[in-house]
Structures are given as C-alpha cells and as structure tokens.
Symmetry: C2
Subunit: 327 residues, 2 copies
Amino acid sequence: MALFDEAAAAVPIPRVPRPIVIADYGAGTGYNSVLPLCSAISVLRKRTQPEHSILVTHTDAPDNDFTALFRTLSHDPDSYLKRDDASFASAVGRSYYKQILPSNSVNLAWSAWALHWLARVPMPVSDHLLAAYTRDPAVRAAYARQAAFDWHEFVAFRGRELCPGGRMVVMTMGVDEDGQLGFGPLVAAISETLEELVARDVITADEYAGMSIPIVGRTAKDFESPFAPSGTFEKLSITGMDLFDGEDRFFKQYRSDGKADAFGAQWAAFVRAALSPTLAGQLTPNRPADAFSHALEAGVAARLAAAPAGVRIPLALVVIEKKQPRD
Amino acid sequence: MALFDEAAAAVPIPRVPRPIVIADYGAGTGYNSVLPLCSAISVLRKRTQPEHSILVTHTDAPDNDFTALFRTLSHDPDSYLKRDDASFASAVGRSYYKQILPSNSVNLAWSAWALHWLARVPMPVSDHLLAAYTRDPAVRAAYARQAAFDWHEFVAFRGRELCPGGRMVVMTMGVDEDGQLGFGPLVAAISETLEELVARDVITADEYAGMSIPIVGRTAKDFESPFAPSGTFEKLSITGMDLFDGEDRFFKQYRSDGKADAFGAQWAAFVRAALSPTLAGQLTPNRPADAFSHALEAGVAARLAAAPAGVRIPLALVVIEKKQPRD
C-alpha cells in the first residue's frame, strides 16, 4: 500500500469547496479497498483542511452487491466514513471497460483484485480450468489477446477520467518465473474436487467441461504494452511498478499453530466466495448451486488440509500517472 | 416537471471541466426519476458544450436494489445515459437524513415519492393502517412531530450539499381539503382485504394490528415551517410551491376502455410493489411473505375491480433555492 500512500501524497488536489475525488475500480463489497482508502485519505487529509470534502466512488459491475458495499462503508470500523468526517461514499454500477466517470474528474484511483478477471471468455478451455495451464496454443493466444485488449481499454478510459497529474495504483495478478499465475495447490485442489464430483455424479462431465475461470496474470511487458514504444499513452505513463509475491496468510498461520484443518477451511472459503459463482454458472439450470458450492468447498478444504503447502501468489502493483499541462 | 426544467434552466453551472452535479434523493430503482432527469439534462445541455460532463447521483437507503437502478439507467431508452453522451451515473446507499454528499457540490436536486415515508415509526397506530385516519390524538401528534422533524432535517442537510444558487425540487404527498392524504378507495381496499385475511386465518389479528404504513401528506404550512418566520433557513428559501392532484392514470384508462379488472390489477400491483414489503415486515418470521403479498394483491384487485372509482392523489411540488453570495 506504500505506493498508494505515495500517490496520495503526490497528486495535485483541488481547492475548497471542490471535493477531492478518489475512484475505486472493481470494488466488490469493499473488502479489498477499506484499508488502503482509509490510509490514503489520512495522507490527503494532512495536506488540506479538516472540512475539505473527499468523495470516494466505488465502481463494479451492475450485479455487484452494492447493499453489502454500503453496509461495509457505513459500519466497518476501518472505513473512511467512520474515520474522516468530511469523507463521502458513492458507487457506480457499470463496467469499467468504458468511461463511467466525468472527464478529468478523478484525483486518485485504486483498483485491487479486479483486473485479473477478463471482460469476457474468449473461447472455451477444454483441457483445464485455467487458460494459463492449457496445452492448446489457440486458447493461450485468444486469452492473451483478450487480456491485452482489456488492459488497453481499462487504461485508456481511466486516462480520460483522471485529472491532469492524477495517479492510479492497480494491484492485480502477476506471474511467476514460469509465466504461471500461481495458486498451484489451490488450482490442483479445485480440479481434483471437480473430477471427484463428476465421479460421484454430483455434476456431469459436460458441466465440468464447460467450467473455466477466466482470470489472467500479467507480466511487466504486458502492463507496459499500451505505453510502448514512447512510454506514454493517452497522456499517461507508468511511474512505478512492483512485482512481488503476496503472503499466504493462511499458511503463515498454519506454520505457527499447526492447524491443518483451519488452513484448508480458510482457502476453501476463499474459493467458495471468489470462484464458486463463476463455476456454478456452468451448472444446468435445475441443479442447486448451493449444494455444488458446498461440495466444492468441502473437497478443497479436505485436500488442502491433508497436505498443507504455501500458496504462491504472484502480484503486481502498477502506478500510472496522467501528465500535467506544465510537464 | 415544468418546475424542475425551470430550475435546470436557472441554476448556475460550473465551467468545464468541473462536472454539473445533479442529485436524486430517494431514487429507488429510478422509475420516478428517469423522465424528469432526462428532461432537465436536455435543458442543461443547451446551456453548455456537448462534452461538459453531467454527473447524476441517485441516493437511497442501503437496502435499496441498486442493481435494478443501474440496469434501468443503462437500458431504459428514456435514461439520460442513453440520451446524453457526456452524462454519468452514480449512487449513494445512505439515509438522506444526514449529509451524504460533499458540501456545496450539488447544482440541481430532485426528490420524488420519497419524503412521504417517515424516517421511523414514532408509535404504533392501533386503530388504522395510516396515522392520518386514526382517532387517537396522541398518535396524530407523534406522527406530526416526526413528519416535521424529518422535513426539517432533510432540508437542513440538503442546504449543506447544494451549491450557492443551486435548486432542489421535491415532489411528495400533499393533503386534500380535509387534511387527508388521499388514496381513499385504495386504503379502504387494503384494510378490508387485511380484515378478510385475518378472518381466513391467512394472518393473525396480532399481525394485522402491528401493521401500519408510516407515510404522511404535508400542507403548505408544513413545508414552510423550517423557513419561518424569516423565510430563510440555512441560506435556503422556498421559491415555488405547487399543490395539485395527481392524475389517476389507471382510472382514466378505465373510463376510456371500461376494463374494471385491469383497473383493479394495476392499482393492486402498485400496492404490492410500494406497500406490501412494509406490511409484510409485521408477519411472524415463519410466515411466507410471498403468499401474503399475493393474497393482498388479489384482494385489493378484486375490491377495486368490483367498484372502480377515481383515486384522489394530493401532491406537492416544492422548489427550494440556496442563496448566492452576491444576493
């Protein structure tokens, strides 16, 4: 988060009474933005008067649970609404693959755990849950094209929305040395569980074959691509990039307390919340998604608990800045 | 809506690139604001450049269906998002009985069909669904106090949010010559249906007794109260008021086509959507709300179809303006 605080310290801010505008792209229920936003707002607050309004706009797809988002923002003790009396929250329920905020209106932007989801599934992945692990070069190419297109579009539209001098910090999935997006033990546990569910007739082979998780990790070169060769794109440039491994907090806890069941249960709960809805989308309409999700969670939990291993989480933080007129 | 268009024509607007900000307080799913906002935005658009951003913020309680709101805004052919390329939508899921938007940030505001709902039920109404029809003077007094308090608070917080020179147009329920809030045939049909449901053991007498609809109509004097005696309050003043009867479109259609069943069904669908959730809140937890709502709708439809009569809809439009520094 240090990069986001640095951005908050550096961006030009408007004068009172014009509000300082922060955008949070792909906010979900706010879980991944409450803490970084609270921190950035405290940095901004030190730069201006206590009554200077700060307006945060959280965006996500229209079917996002905005009620849960507003409840988090109103009640979480770490929410900026609890910590800063002159902060305000709003939401936009539209895809960020177009312009969804006024031109030149955003002073500071954040996006976490969102851009790894592709805007659409470019083609079915017949031999694996993840295109990253397929042996089919046509699938790999289609996914790479979609990933490049999505990043290009996302950056281009944010370029319109950012104020001159405004900065955006994106946290999304990177890749490991082998170009893989990590999460190996987790992906294996999901695949094995789904195969078991087919064998047990909980789901059909056709349903399993239709399931894929359209997420991608990106390399430094992928992030830089829209800016090549000049280094600028739509008045934007990359001013910082950090490629690192996220900590597997569940494994850290397991190494401290030895509770293998808790390790499995925590990652399985993550799978249920983050991935199960996507997989359940391939079930035939009469099959209850709840039972499937429960069986998936139980299978993943048991497999991970049986052989606890650290989950590699390659991440990328990218800082993008919009040129100021005087530059 | 003429008053809202007039407000759009008169309010000071910021210069590019600062967006023109419109607030829609108590938006629900957007049903009552799509047309007036589209009209007001076309008025504003004629006053500025095609690329000048107009940002609309729709507010409602956190449990509002914001997904439905954003779907309406994205897909309704009359939505400003469809009609104006430089318009943008956002939402706030917080009660408007506090400040929820930045100070001095709103150029134009709209609120329709929202302020007649009280912020809280001040006390049970034992002898009627509506406090307006009670014979208990203590109930009447408690409801009147709450209605006055709500209006005072609503206006005070909007006064902080409006820009100098900004205007707000509120459409809410008024009263008829007898001080009643109208909707007579509808209220009678609901009461009779609920009594029948008690007799048929669909609901219990206790559940019925607990049901009330905490809505109020207001008089001109009620609207003016926070501004008395000077005519100004928090730099605000009432610059227009229109008390009139809304048209019963369902009855108008019935008089043209003679279809009594359709007349009953249309009002009953309104009851189901607008009031049934409030009434169902008094059901014991194990009673299915769906069955209750269906029975209520059927009973109301049958009663209104058996004796079609025009529904009186006393309404009020109030225009409030915030003083400009040069005034």
